[in-house]
Structure formats: C-alpha cells, structure tokens
C-alpha cells in the first residue's frame, strides 16, 4: 500500500438547526485503500459523505484533496475532481434510461451541433457497464423497470465512471454509503470485486455499512464514529466485530446476539394458515401454519416469491388461488387496513416510500397504525400519542431532537426504527417483518431482536424476512425455504438445533 495521502478531513463540524450531526471529526484516506466507516445510526456518516461530495456545506473545518484545500460547492465540482458517491438513498431518476442516468449532468460532453448524440452516449454507457461486470444491463432500459439490486449496480457504475471522467489524471475517491444494504450475497461479491479492481488502480474508497463482517472483509482501515465524534480508527488486522461493536455502542455486547435464551416454544393455537395459496406468476402451492408465539422465517433469493407472499398476508395484494385463514376464519383482503383489523401488520421493505411518512413528525408516525387504541369516544388523545412516542424513542434509542421532529430529518437507520416502533405500537397479533433491521446499527439490532423476542413471549406471532440468512436462522423457530415461487423446504430451528446455512442455501438455489 502506498503511503500518499489522497484526502483528509480535519475538524469537520456540522449542525442542522439544533442537531449537532458532526462535532469535530477527522478522516484520512491514503491512495489505493478502502476505508471502512462504521457507527451507530445517526452517528454522522452520511453527513460527512455529503459534505465531501458537496451536497451539504460543512459548518467548519478543512478538507484537503491531494494536498490542496478542497471545498466543493456542488457535486459536479467534486466529480470534476474525481470524487463520486453512491448515496444511501437511491439517486437514479427512474423515468430516464440507464445510460441517461449514467451521464446525467454530463450530457454536454455528447453534444454535437446542438444535439445530444444519444447513440454515442449509449455506446459509452455500455462500455462503462461492462467494465463493472454488468454487461447484461441494457443501457436503453428505463431505470423504473429494473429491480433494486440492479439499480444499485447502475449507481456503482455511475460512480466508477466518475473516476474516468474526472478532469484530473490523479487518483480518485469513491464514497459508498451503505451500498450493500439492498444487495444479495452474490451481488455483494461482485461489488467487492469491483472495489478491489479500483484500489488496484490506486483509487480509494470510503465504505459505509452496518454489516460489520463486510466491513472487515473489504476494508484496509476502519474508522468508528460515535455521536458525531471519532471513536477510534484501526487497521483491519487489529479489528474484530466485538471491538468495533464496543467502540460503536460504548459497551460490550452483553448478551448473546439473537437472545436465544429467550426463544420460546410456540403454542398449539394456529393464528394464520395458508392453504394452497398462490398468486399468478409469483408463487404457488404454499401451505403452512403460523402458531401463536412463533417466529417463522422465510428464506429465499430474490424472485423466490417470499416478498409477494408477505404482500398477500398484509392485504396489499389479493391471492389468485387458495385460501388464507386467519384465526380460524377464511379471509380475503383487498387493502392493508382490513388485515390490520384482523391484527396483521407488516414492516414494509422500502422504508422511504412505504414505511414512514417523512413529512409527519416522529410521534404521528408512531401513532399511525393504532389510532383506535389512542382514542377515547372517537377523539384521539394527544397526551397518549406523545407518551407513546416518548416511550418508543427511549426503548429503541431513536436519535431525534424530540418527538415533534419531522421524520425526514432523521438519519436513515433512525427512520427505520420509527417504522419498527409504529408496528410494535400497533400491538397487532401477527407481525410481518420484512427486513426489519435493514440499515440499523448493530446496537439497535440487538435491541430489536430483544423486542421481537418479548413480543413473541407476549403471545404474538412473527413472520420474518431476515436481512441476512444468519439473522433469519438465529431468530426463527422454524424456517420455510422458497425457490422459484414454491416452498422447497421447511426446517425446525429450535435453540439447540439451528439448521446450517449450507443446508438452507442448497434448498434456495
């Protein structure tokens, strides 16, 4: 590893009317290395990234790029200096084609006689895509027609392209803010290959993720932030998950990760049953029973149909075949509120569009799904709403300036926690958790696992689509494995007899 400093940030401070997001953090990046950046939700990781790329102005502090002071006013300026970024939130324009997205903001380079030469642009786009191993993506396709994982690869291609477009011929810096949270294992592998290719050329990468194993795998050095401050930086050789955890959360992981000691044996009573359930073109012949007090895990790769089954349970879609029996009654939902009336509620996967209402306050969001319980004679009690919010902010350690803060101002992970609080507050009997811990920091994850266990102990039932296979196995009493729209296996996952990942993967693919 060469020892030239490519980029360094010193004493960066940033506050958003009242919230101190960054209080004096430092970061150095050497040429050709991957810097891992970890920290709790709201620690300020995304904020720092956005300052480097020029989306947000810094409060105070200095940044240096290749030894020279550096302060971009907008991302185009940063791009020209060879800095590119994959945002935590999706940043592709869904109505444009892949190629147009790749070169968005750079169309001028393809202008000929006042006309944009699309042909040339698409040819170039195809070249860029194949460079990151995505030859299979048609650059003329509209982004809206791609699934999220593919979109993420396009984002990465877009950034990689920056390194080539940069007006400097020096080394480039690439910022990846939780790029893997929506990727599956093979895709993550492909991304890592890309990252390695880039560093081999001498470019550098800052990699943000809550999946500590990934961070340990790809990084050369790791920075830990806590509450907007440096909480240590170390070479990867000196780091383990436990150390990182301790630095991030402030204490050691005190109990066993998945709280296996709290795993209970489900009751006999069946709360939800699928009989030969099917949805045209999505899944078929699905049979299972969910018992009271049970955590049922669903495993399967993308397109295996597990997401679609969830949308049927929560009432978002109607099944084409078979029967759905809830608490002994045959039902058919046409909208989620009907399912909620029967005590079924889901944490949706896409928190930004489906999970939270970003223009409403934290307390209103938490109160969304249980208006009934908060009201007296048809009137909602503001007192109960705010008491409930205070309670959940405390229990889930949601980092917010107050219960009236708008959700849009929270960090990504904290928004996810608000969704979780909403679903728990609804006190539904059956809770469908679709990636409940996506984007949540490890400390909070442990907390959430504890809450799921408590919930089950109270006699609720859970259907879990884990963020990782490990999580799915660790938490569940039983796992159903799906492939190509069919249930290919059903394994017991008692505390002492957890199935191995290998056995499940063999049924998944």
């Amino acid at each position: 590893m060469s020892k030239n400093i490519l980029f360094s940030a010193k004493n960066i401070v940033k506050s958003f009317h009242g919230t101190q997001a960054l209080k004096e953090v430092d970061l150095d990046v050497y040429e050709g290395e991957v810097v891992g950046l970890v920290g709790e939700n709201g620690a300020g990781k995304s904020t720092l990234m956005k300052i480097i790329i020029g989306v947000q102005p810094q409060g105070s502090g200095e940044m240096y790029l290749r030894g020279k002071p550096f302060q971009p006013h907008d991302p185009l300026e940063a791009n020209a200096e060879g800095i590119g970024m994959v945002y935590q939130e999706q940043s592709l324009i869904t109505t444009l084609s892949v190629g147009q997205n790749l070169f968005f903001g750079h169309e001028k380079e393809f202008m000929q006689m006042g006309i944009v030469n699309w042909k040339k642009m698409y040819a170039e786009a195809a070249a860029v895509l194949s460079e990151v191993g995505c030859e299979d993506i048609n650059p003329r396709k509209k982004v809206i027609d791609l699934n999220f994982a593919t979109r993420q690869m396009v984002e990465i291609a877009k950034v990689v392209n920056v390194t080539k477009e940069a007006s400097t011929d020096g080394k480039c810096l690439i910022l990846l803010d939780e790029p893997t949270s929506v990727l599956n294992e093979t895709e993550v592998k492909r991304l890592f290959q890309e990252i390695r290719k880039l560093t081999a050329k001498g470019h550098s990468v800052i990699f943000v993720s809550h999946r500590l194993d990934e961070v340990l795998e790809i990084s050369d050095r790791i920075y830990v932030y806590k509450d907007g401050e440096n909480a240590g930086n170390m070479n990867v050789a000196d780091a383990t998950e436990a150390i990182l955890y301790e630095r991030m959360v402030g204490h050691e992981t005190n109990s066993e990760y998945y709280h296996l000691d709290k795993q209970v044996i489900p009751k006999e009573e069946v709360v939800l049953e699928a009989k030969d359930l099917g949805c045209r073109g999505k899944f078929k012949h699905v049979n299972f029973q969910l018992h009271k007090g049970e955590i049922l895990g669903f495993c399967g790769v993308v397109g295996s149909g597990k997401e679609e089954i969830c949308s049927v349970f929560c009432g978002d879609e109607s099944p084409d075949f078979g029967e759905l029996i809830v608490k002994g009654r045959k039902t058919k939902y046409s909208a989620p509120y009907q399912a909620l009336n029967d005590g079924i509620l889901m944490i949706p996967m896409e928190r930004m569009v489906e999970g939270v209402i970003r223009g409403l306050s934290v307390e209103d969001n938490i109160a969304l799904s249980n208006a009934g319980r908060l009201s007296k004679r048809g009137m909602i009690s503001r007192k109960r709403v705010s008491e409930q919010a205070v309670e959940w902010i405390r229990r889930l350690r949601i980092k917010t300036s107050g219960k009236e803060e708008l959700v849009i101002q929270l960090s990504g992970g904290n928004q996810q926690k608000v969704v979780f609080a909403r679903v728990l507050a609804s006190e539904s009997d059956v809770v469908i958790l679709n990636h409940p811990t996506r984007g949540v920091d490890v400390g909070a994850k442990e907390e959430i696992y504890g809450l799921i266990r408590d919930m089950v102990a109270e006699g609720k039932s859970v259907i879990l689509l884990g963020d990782t296979l490990d999580e799915c196995i660790g938490m569940s009493n039983r796992v159903l494995i799906m492939r190509d729209g069919l249930v290919t296996g059903e394994l017991d996952a008692a505390v002492d007899a957890k199935p191995s990942q290998v056995s499940i993967i063999s049924m998944m693919v």
């Binding site: 909208a335 509120y337 949706p348 569009v353 969304l368 048809g378």
Partner: protein, 327 residues
C-alpha cells in the same frame, strides 16, 4: 428547540393575520368608509358561500387531490334546489317544509355526486385533477339541462329564505354556519383517526396504505364532504340572489382553491390547517371588497388583484421551515 419547532406551525396563522391587518389598514387609509358598519356587515355575511366551499375543499387538498368541479357542482345544486322549489311550491305543504325537503334532497344529491367522483378517482385511478375536470363539464351540462335560464324564487316564498339575512352581532347567519362547520372539521382533522388519515394520505399515500389506513374510504369521504359543502354554498347563493342560475358557480372554482392555498394549505397535500382557510377566504374577499370601495379603475382591478394576491402569498408562506419541494 422543541418550542421553536411547534411555534413554527403557528407562523402561517400569524402571517395570514398580518396580511389581513395590512390590507384592512391600507384600504381604510385610502377610503374611510371601508370600515363603516355596513361594509363590515357585507364582508361578514357575503363571504359565506366562498367560506363554506373553501371549507369543503380543504380536506380534498390535504389528501393531495383537487376538485375542479366544485363550481359546476355548486351551479347544478343551485338550479336543482330552485327547480325543486318551483315544482312543489303549489302543493299543500307549508313553505318551510318545502324548503327543508328541497335543501335536504339537494344536499343528498351533492353528497352522492361527490362519492361518484371519489369512486372514479380512487377505484379507476383517474387523477382527481382530470376526473373533476370531466365532472366540471358534466355538471355544467346538467345544470343547463335542468334549467337553461335563471329562475327567480317567486315573491311569495321570499319569507322562507329570510334567514340568510339574519345576523348574530356583526356576523351573518350563513357565515356562522360556515364557521361552525369549519370548527367541526378542525376537530375531526386534528382529533380523530379520520383526520390523521387525511394528513397521512396527503403526505405519503403508499405509506399510509401500508400502515393500515383505509385510504380509499377516507379519500371518498373527503370528496363527499366537498360535494356537501358545494351544495350548501349553492343554497346560500340561492338565498342571497333569491334565484338560481346555471352558471352561478363558474367563477368560484379557482377562487375557492386559491383561498385554501392562501390559507397555507399545501397543494401537494399533507400539511395545512383548516382554521387558516378562514383567513385565506378573508384575504380574497377583503381584496375584492376593498378594490370596489376604494374604486380602483375597473381596467386596473384585475392587475391589482393579481399583484396583491402575489404579495399576500409571498408574505404568507413560511419559507424558513420549508424543507419540502414546492410544485
């Protein structure tokens, strides 16, 4: 910190108040008679039809939809109520009874019409802008078909619409009704799950649906309520003009929506306060009233109206906390 944030919610109210005070001051300085009692009486009674329609429109805009058919709905209710009266005027029933029955019939009709529009919007996924635009044409035609010329209420029945002129203190009776309805809506919007659903849908419909809010039902309710208010406005207009006309509502559509927006309700939905709609309506009507009182040259009135509306809304919008996109 928190205090500051909650206070921000009231800024819109303060700004609207400030706009109103400025307008009143300016007009009074220009022409003393602006604040003489009969003009204040006019202001406080004649805003009733606009007020009631704006009240109905507010929830529709809060859910992020729009209803361009209010004006036409008002026209059709207006001719409907009078043609019913004309049908029954010679029957044996007491006049007040005829009035009551015709009012109720018209209101029911309007609610049903609102529900139909809501259903088409919600179930067939037609954007409310275009669905209501189509309904605007349809109701315009319907009004003309019911009566293609204005009908006057016969003199013998004038007694039954005298209530329009009753006033409680300086407040006209119809305006009191409008206020009561707005306060009722305020309670519903802030204190019931229906109201919270309305805000949630406006802010993020998909998330509202997924969190178990009965989106379709609430949306249809908003349109039904809007229909009701348009018909009530039509009844007020009938009493005010002692007649009906098939085109009476035409000029209201944009005025109603503008008043709601001037009251600080966001057109993209999800934020706003129905009490401020009252202020928005007053801003519009004070501008119109004041321009007549200070007798601005009629060729200039439109220009002045536009400029004043622009200034009013520029003062009125609270830009400091606006992290949202303005469309």
């Amino acid at each position: 910190m928190n205090k500051l944030k909650t206070n921000k919610a009231y800024f819109a109210t303060y700004f609207s108040m400030a706009v109103i005070i400025c307008l009143v001051l300016i007009f009074t300085i220009m022409e003393k008679s602006f604040i003489n009692s009969s003009n204040i009486n006019n202001l406080l009674s004649d805003t009733a039809p606009l007020m009631i329609m704006a009240a109905g429109m507010t929830p529709v805009i809060l859910i992020g939809s729009i209803d361009l058919s209010v004006g036409a709905m008002c026209s059709v209710s207006n001719v409907l109520v009078v043609s019913f009266i004309m049908k029954f005027k010679d029957t044996i029933y007491a006049d007040w009874f005829i009035m009551l029955v015709t009012f109720v019939t018209t209101l029911v009709f309007a609610v049903i019409a609102g529900i139909i529009l809501g259903l088409i919007h919600v179930k067939l996924k037609v954007p409310s802008f275009i669905a209501s635009l189509a309904f605007m044409s349809i109701w315009n035609s319907a009004a003309l078909l019911i009566s293609n010329s204005p009908i006057s209420i016969p003199k013998k029945l004038w007694g039954t619409i005298d209530w329009y002129k009753i006033s409680i203190g300086p407040l006209g009776y119809p305006l009191v009704i409008a206020f009561l309805i707005i306060i009722g809506y305020y309670v519903i919007l802030t204190r019931t799950s229906l109201g919270r659903g309305i805000y949630a849908i406006g802010a993020n419909e998909r998330a509202a649906r997924m969190s178990g809010i009965a989106v379709d039902r609430i949306k249809i309710t908003a349109f039904a309520v809007n229909g009701f208010c348009a018909a009530l406005g039509a009844i007020f207009l009938m009493a005010k003009a002692k007649s009906c006309a098939p085109t009476v509502g035409d000029s209201f559509t944009l005025m109603v929506i503008s008043a709601v927006v001037l009251g600080g309700t966001a057109l993209i939905g999800g934020s706003g306060n129905i009490l401020n709609t009252i202020l928005g309506v007053f801003i519009v009507s004070i501008i119109k009233n004041g321009m007549n009182i200070v007798s601005i040259n009629v060729y200039w009135q439109k220009v002045v109206f536009g400029v004043v509306v622009l200034i009013a809304i520029a003062i009125n919008t609270d830009r400091s906390s606006r992290s949202f996109i303005v469309k």
